[in-house]
């Protein structure tokens, strides 16, 4: 009898401690796994993404968190390598017990992590990676991949940002495309060619460079000899800085438009000095009143982090975490299935614009949703040249 009583007490203690453990696990924290490049050529972008997430988490926590839980961000350096992304996702989910995943810069990494998120039934909010293949998974197999959402823009949207520069501003008949050698860039070129072929604007050359390249003489010679009306550049990593320097020094005099990259940041352009002159780029966000949240966000961000937001990695990171928090609040629970249903109904006014997800869980692009501006940098100042509603200058071609 005594032995039976001791056994029952032991069993109660074991089960009880398990319950206590789960209670302590259901603590005041909502852990979110952040997968970003913190080293390597894309480290600058990872740092900006981190700033966006941190600001969002800070503001949410200051208002009591999400469903009474304080957000805790756990970062993992993917080094832009899919294997590291997968390792990190598994570690964050299984060891750190995060509720959801957010971030990722490289589409190759995002595609790999999407498989992990789907297998583990964990929501992943893609705030940066742009390959159409990511949200195409949701269409391909909704039940398996419904956990994937993207508030980042797609490659097709990236190339649409430059369209007004070619059609309205420079009235180009042809272009040369140069980008870093990545999946995103190849997807981007396909989308670019399709769009401009439809507009009767011909591609007369394409070139891909290593993401850590520093020598562009060959490419610049090729561009010079091709004589395009416009150069569309999408070198998103630090190689873009060297490219801009050498483009300017080589006196290319061909109008060029730069898709969002490391260069498209005030502190980088200030560092370039004269070599940043006439640099034209298409930030997804700028300190103009895109929504009533935009200008206050820029003021707070600059005060906190000491730099002017680049407008994509930081802003979409911020908005992505806010959208996730909003979805959880509307669901009123952390149950993943219920949160997914609410996220699908998202109509959220963020810093970059209005977020509404389509049937593939991709945030919509276009008038009334998310758009970009076109900015030109001259003598240390940024001038918005498009759209007209925000423009304070017109485009100036390099006069040298």
């Amino acid at each position: 009898m005594q032995k039976i009583l001791i056994t029952i007490v032991c069993l109660i203690l074991i089960v009880g401690s398990g319950s206590l453990a789960s209670v302590s696990a259901q603590s005041n924290e909502l852990k979110i796994g952040v997968i970003i490049p913190l080293s390597g050529p894309a480290a600058v972008i990872g740092h900006r993404m981190s700033c966006g997430f941190k600001l969002a988490a800070e503001q949410l926590n200051a208002k009591g968190g999400v469903l009474g839980k304080q957000i805790k961000l756990i970062e993992w350096d993917d080094m832009t390598e899919p294997e590291r992304g997968v390792t990190g996702a598994k570690k964050l989910i299984n060891t750190d017990k995060v509720w959801g995943l957010i971030g990722i810069f490289r589409s190759g990494v995002a595609l790999a992590v999407a498989e992990v998120a789907a297998a583990e039934k964990t929501i992943y909010m893609d705030t940066n990676a742009a390959s159409p293949d990511i949200t195409a998974l949701v269409k391909k197999d909704y039940n398996k991949y419904k956990y994937i959402f993207r508030n980042a823009s797609m490659a097709t949207n990236f190339q649409q940002t430059a369209v007004p520069f070619l059609t309205d501003i420079t009235k180009a008949k042809n272009y040369f495309f140069i980008a870093e050698n990545s999946k995103f860039s190849h997807d981007l070129f396909k989308a670019t060619k399709e769009t401009y072929d439809g507009l009767g604007i011909k591609c007369i050359g394409e070139a891909y460079v290593d993401q850590a390249a520093s020598e562009f003489t060959g490419e610049l010679s090729r561009i010079r000899y091709s004589k395009p009306d416009v150069v569309i550049a999408s070198i998103s990593t630090v190689a873009g800085i060297a490219f801009q320097k050498q483009y300017y020094d080589a006196n290319m005099r061909i109008p060029h438009i730069n898709l969002p990259s490391v260069v498209c940041a005030k502190e980088v352009l200030n560092e370039l000095g004269n070599q940043g002159n006439y640099f034209t780029f298409v930030p997804f966000c700028w300190d103009v009143p895109i929504t009533d949240k935009t200008v206050p966000f820029y003021e707070i961000f600059i005060k906190k982090f000491g730099y002017f937001p680049e407008g994509y990695s930081d802003v979409r990171g911020y908005d992505g975490l806010m959208i996730l928090a909003d979805g959880i609040k509307r669901a009123g629970t952390l149950e993943v299935e219920k949160v997914i249903k609410e996220l699908e109904k998202t109509d959220f006014k963020g810093v970059a614009g209005r977020y509404v997800f389509d049937e593939t869980h991709q945030s919509k692009w276009g008038e009334g949703y998310l758009r970009n501006v076109i900015v030109q940098w001259i003598n240390g100042k940024a001038y918005v040249i498009w759209p007209k509603v925000f423009a304070n200058a017109t485009y100036i071609k390099d006069p040298r």
Partner: protein, 296 residues
């Protein structure tokens, strides 16, 4: 395309390649000196290049000089800073590990990581750039030259000619050649081989620093900028012949032409593959490189 345009493009590629190769040659010559005289592989060579770039950046952003003085100041500062840093590294790390080739390689790699991380912690968050000393381009019958690169490449050639004359004519240069040929005999003849080694190491670092001062206005300055140049320098040294200064210079120009030509016709993502494939072929056909001696 008309024949005249094709000729123009080829001339552009060859001349641009020679100019670019001339810039790489300084860094590569430093590496070949270490390989030839000290018989070790220095994986910290790229970090010396990086230190030279940072030294150049801080020196020039504090002064306002005319372009030529800028160039001269940049080279002198970079040379001095890296030389002073390289000497204790040879004395405290390389010399102690020198009994074993693998140990030296690992030790030099560790030194490279320490230098890189130290710079990253202290200065690393922003990617720095320098303006070009000599802006604008020169157009010669349709072939365009970036003035900065042209002048920097000529400067690089002057430094190498000076180095060559020094090795050929100066007493220390002769001592270097004697240690390279037969270290034990040189010691028996009263030459302090350890002193020669430490000075060669410092000199190689100084050459990397000089290369950085000429190249950094063209590129960005950041803590891990040394690794691509280390890779290119190794390829050049192997092509030219380990320990052969003349071979290294020749291989630098070939490397530059192949790099620019590949980027022009196929895209720069093929440049490394092309260069290293050529290196493999050369190693199979002629293991000593174009002009080198079989050291290992």
């Amino acid at each position: 395309m008309e024949p005249s345009q094709i000729i123009q493009q080829i001339v552009q590629i060859v001349f641009s390649g020679i100019v670019v190769g001339g810039l790489y040659s300084l860094a590569a010559v430093g590496l070949t000196l270490i390989l030839g005289v000290m018989r070790v592989i220095n994986l910290a060579h790229g970090s010396f290049f990086m230190l030279g770039a940072f030294a150049t950046y801080f020196a020039l952003t504090q002064t306002k000089l005319n372009p030529i003085l800028c160039l001269v100041t940049a080279v002198l500062v970079a040379v001095l800073v890296v030389f002073i840093i390289a000497i204790p590294i040879e004395r405290l790390v390389i010399r102690r590990a020198k009994t074993d080739l693998m140990r030296v390689s690992v030790a030099s790699f560790a030194v490279a990581m320490v230098l890189e991380e130290a710079v990253r912690i202290r200065w690393g968050k922003i990617y720095r750039t320098l303006p070009t000393y000599i802006p604008a381009t020169t157009n010669f019958y349709g072939v365009a030259f970036d003035n900065q690169r042209l002048v920097a490449s000529l400067f690089s050639l002057l430094i190498i000619i000076g180095l060559w004359l020094y090795i050929k004519k100066a007493r220390f240069g002769m001592a270097m050649r004697m240690v390279q040929q037969d270290k034990e005999m040189a010691s028996l003849l009263g030459i302090n081989a350890n002193l020669v080694n430490v000075m060669v190491f410092g000199l190689a670092g100084a050459l990397a620093g000089a290369a950085a001062s000429l190249l950094s206005p063209l590129y960005m300055i950041y803590p891990s900028m040394g690794w691509p140049i280390l890779l290119k320098s190794f390829a050049i040294v192997i092509l030219g012949g380990m320990g052969s200064v003349g071979g290294t210079i020749f291989a630098s120009y070939i490397f530059g032409i192949v790099e620019i030509g590949t980027a022009f016709f196929f895209g720069s993502q093929w440049a490394y593959i092309t260069v290293f494939l050529i290196m493999i072929v050369i190693l199979l056909i002629r293991p000593k490189g174009f002009f080198g001696k079989d050291i290992f």
